[in-house]
């Protein structure tokens, strides 16, 4: 039974897309390779309150982008909109992911296509064991890719391996998802799931909040090990300190729902020194 009417869409294979693009503007294709994520003039609101006011952002595979900004600037909203949370209404702009219209996809389809969100507040699922949850997640993805279900032994092996990556006690795997986990365990569990699901675009929503310096280092370590040529990261953070450990390629500053400044990793340090007021002052047109 179909849970809902879902448009029959061919699976995202880059080939037809590339050919189409080649036919249309072969010249352009050779000079501007397709970005992993391309956000153009994105406007979004929740309950009639505008939060994003024209975000532009392009992430290529292999890159780590950081978005910094004061509280309420819309950073987490951007993460939620990209993951497809329903409360947010997109009123204007486009988002292309691997050349496809991302906004057309349901949240689960986005996940299956390789978008992963590490939640700021991971949700508890009482009675649902971590093991069952992850196995289902991995198998859903495999089914989507036309692959066979993961073998039990392979799954266990993968789980042990990846748990080690973020220093997560394997005993937690027998517990219910996030239930009774400490704050630090919940955050590490998010990165562990990231490691298990091997996404193409990983969005970390304030993963550093509530972590002490040791936990922060563990999480950052895990992320660094997961950096890869074909994987993009979007790291949302309020503080610069996470970026001491995960060195970004690009740093964006978001204020009032817009990216107002973009630079290299030094921008984060400058921001830490001068505070967000400095950006605000600069951003406001004279």
């Amino acid at each position: 039974m179909g849970a809902r009417a879902m448009p029959q869409r061919p699976r995202a294979s880059p080939l037809p897309f590339l050919m189409q693009r080649f036919q249309q503007t072969s010249h352009e294709y050779f000079y501007t390779p397709m970005a992993l994520l391309e956000v153009n003039n994105l406007h979004a609101s929740v309950e009639d309150t505008d939060i994003l006011n024209g975000v532009d952002l392009t992430i290529d595979g292999g890159q780590v982008h950081a978005i910094m900004g004061p509280n309420g600037s819309g950073k987490s909203t951007l993460a939620s909109v990209l993951a497809g949370r329903e409360e947010y209404e997109v009123s204007e702009g486009t988002v292309h992911y691997q050349g496809e219209d991302l906004l057309e996809l349901e949240p689960d389809e986005r996940a299956l296509e390789g978008i992963f969100l590490a939640f700021q507040y991971p949700v508890e699922l009482p009675g649902v064991s971590m093991m069952n949850f992850l196995k289902q997640a991995i198998n859903s993805k495999r089914e989507h890719l036309g692959e066979e279900e993961i073998k039990a032994a392979d799954f266990m092996k993968l789980m042990r391996e990846r748990a080690e990556l973020v220093n997560l006690d394997p005993k937690l795997m027998r517990r219910s998802v996030n239930e009774g986990f400490s704050g630090g365990e919940k955050k590490r569990n998010e990165i562990f799931q990231l490691a298990m699901l091997e996404p193409k675009l990983a969005i970390l929503d304030e993963t550093d909040s509530g972590l002490d310096i040791d936990a922060l280092r563990v999480v950052a370590d895990g992320v660094n090990k997961l950096r890869a040529e074909d994987r993009g990261f979007l790291i949302i953070t309020h503080y610069q300190r996470l970026l001491d450990y995960i060195v970004p390629d690009v740093v964006h500053v978001m204020v009032d729902g817009k990216i107002v400044k973009t630079g290299g990793k030094d921008l984060a340090i400058e921001l830490e020194e001068k505070g967000y007021d400095w950006i605000r002052g600069e951003a406001v047109p004279a």
Binding site: M1, R4, P107, F116, F119, P126, G127, V128, S140, L197
Partner: protein, 487 residues
């Protein structure tokens, strides 16, 4: 609530009943109506001994007064329905060919096919280690397997009519000893017209070598089904019993009023598990089974234990409170329940734990899941008598709402007459959260997978109490119910 979730739940609510058909077997059906003659006719058809007819008639004389006095009809449950007209019901129906069979070879092929379609392949069950099946189709037992092995262990497992003929002393001694015919409206009705059911006797010191299981199925149009089951465990005996039900689709409501009595002597244990999947009515809320069941266990001996575990997914009306009377010192009563309602289903279910002996202990864990426009109520009584020292009870009632047009209710009653009692009650109500769903979606799970996973997690500790073989079946049933897949 998101649109997709609403759509999904709508699909679930609209799902057709999987087991909806009527088998075409010639049946021997009594004319509708309840009179003394009806009672005599049932007894005669079943070739019952005189004492049993007398017992039925005594019950009928009592019930007649209640039946004619509308103020006697129990209306306290949180249920809305039209009171069934007892004069429009036929009280006896039996497959016509042959009432009793010595082996499966004699059983009508069509009948066997019905069981196959229900997923109860008797032929295979014979080979399935550890499961004996006493299949009841309408009112007469048609096949019993594993008899030899049970006989060797000294366990009696047969239909109650058979038991009344072959073991009259036992039946006479225990029938009505836990639930007298004066107990309540539906138990009285059952006592007059009970059709068939199971009888289990486990002698002293015997651990029943296999799970005992019976499948009930209503088949004839307009036939009330009134099972009566009696299970006795002598000192130091153990038995685990499972009943599972499905019923074919029909237009008119069907009354189902079963009585189940359990007796556990010193240090005996009875585990009674139910998977109930009667026809729940159409999506417009028409038809479906009215399930008014009286189930009670008596922990008669010291250190005895009785556990009720139930997965209730069917019936349009469920009125059911499997209870335990903790008479023996240090006796233990348990009630574990998952009740899932959708569409227009209504369930009012729970338990009664009556503490009489010293140092008795009871545990109640109830999980209600409501979807569609259904109503799901927990109703439970914990009673500690004046002389019951150090009684302990723990109750936990959790409700989960799937959607915003359904209802979940909790009616706990606590009556304590002894100051040494310790009684704990916890209750929670939750809605399958948009946050939980989004979290699952973000990991690639679709609506159906996500809801299944969350609901299964919610009921996990109860399903784990079911016997191994049936826990899988139970999860499957729950998954089917959630999916609403059409068979």
């Amino acid at each position: 609530m998101s649109t997709t979730q609403t759509e999904y739940l709508q699909d679930v609510a609209d799902a057709d009943y999987e087991h909806g058909w009527t088998t075409d077997i010639e049946a021997d059906t009594a004319d509708p109506g309840l009179t003394e003659d009806t009672v005599r006719m049932i007894s005669a058809k079943k070739e019952e001994p005189e004492w049993l007819l007398e017992w039925r008639l005594k019950a009928f004389r009592y019930f007649k007064k209640i039946m004619e006095d509308s103020s006697q009809y129990p209306e306290w449950a949180h249920l809305k329905y039209v009171q069934p007209n007892l004069q429009e019901i036929s009280y006896y129906s039996a497959p016509k060919r042959k009432a009793r069979y010595d082996s499966l070879d004699e059983v009508d092929d069509e009948l066997l096919e019905t069981f196959e379609r229900l997923g109860i392949p008797l032929q295979e069950q014979k080979q399935l280690a550890g499961v004996a099946v006493d299949a009841v189709m309408d009112s007469v037992s048609v096949a019993t397997t594993f008899k030899e092995e049970l006989k060797e262990a000294g366990v009696i497992f047969c239909s109650i009519s058979e038991a009344a003929r072959d073991y009259p002393e036992l039946v006479r001694k225990y029938m009505g000893s836990v639930i007298p015919y004066t107990d309540n409206y539906f138990a009285s009705l059952n006592s007059c017209v009970f059709s068939d059911g199971s009888f289990v006797y486990v002698p002293k010191g015997v651990r029943c070598p296999m799970e005992l299981s019976t499948y009930f199925r209503i088949n004839e149009q307009n036939t009330g089904q009134f099972e009566r089951t009696l299970i006795i465990a002598e000192d130091d005996a153990y038995v685990s019993y499972l009943e599972g039900c499905t019923a074919p689709q029909r237009d008119e409501s069907q009354l189902h009023a079963a009585v189940v009595e359990l007796v556990a002597h010193d240090n005996a244990e009875i585990k009674y598990s139910t998977i109930q999947n009667w026809y729940p009515g159409s999506k417009e809320g028409e038809g479906g089974i009215y399930n008014f069941v009286t189930k009670r266990g008596l922990c008669k001996g010291d250190d005895s234990k009785i556990s009720w575990t139930q997965l209730e997914t069917g019936s349009s009306i469920t009125w059911k409170y499997p209870s335990v009377i903790l008479k023996g010192d240090r006796s233990v009563g348990e009630f574990y329940s998952v009740a899932f309602t959708k569409g227009h289903q209504q369930a009012d279910t729970g338990t009664k734990m009556t503490h009489i002996g010293d140092d008795t202990k009871s545990t109640i864990i109830s999980k209600g899941i409501s979807g569609g426009r259904s109503n799901n109520s927990y109703r439970g009584l914990v009673r500690v008598n004046k002389n019951a020292k150090n009684a302990r009870n723990f109750s936990q009632c959790d409700s989960m709402l799937l959607g915003d047009r359904c209802g979940a209710h909790t009616f706990p009653y606590i009556e304590i007459d002894n100051p040494t009692a310790q009684v704990e009650h916890e209750a929670t109500t939750s809605k399958v959260g948009d946050d939980q769903l989004f979290y699952c979606h973000q990991r690639g799970l679709n609506e159906e997978e996500a809801i299944k996973m969350i609901v299964n997690g919610f009921c996990k500790e109860i399903l784990a109490k079911l016997p191994m073989e049936f826990a899988v079946e139970a999860r499957e049933l729950l998954a089917i119910e959630l999916e609403g897949s059409v068979g």
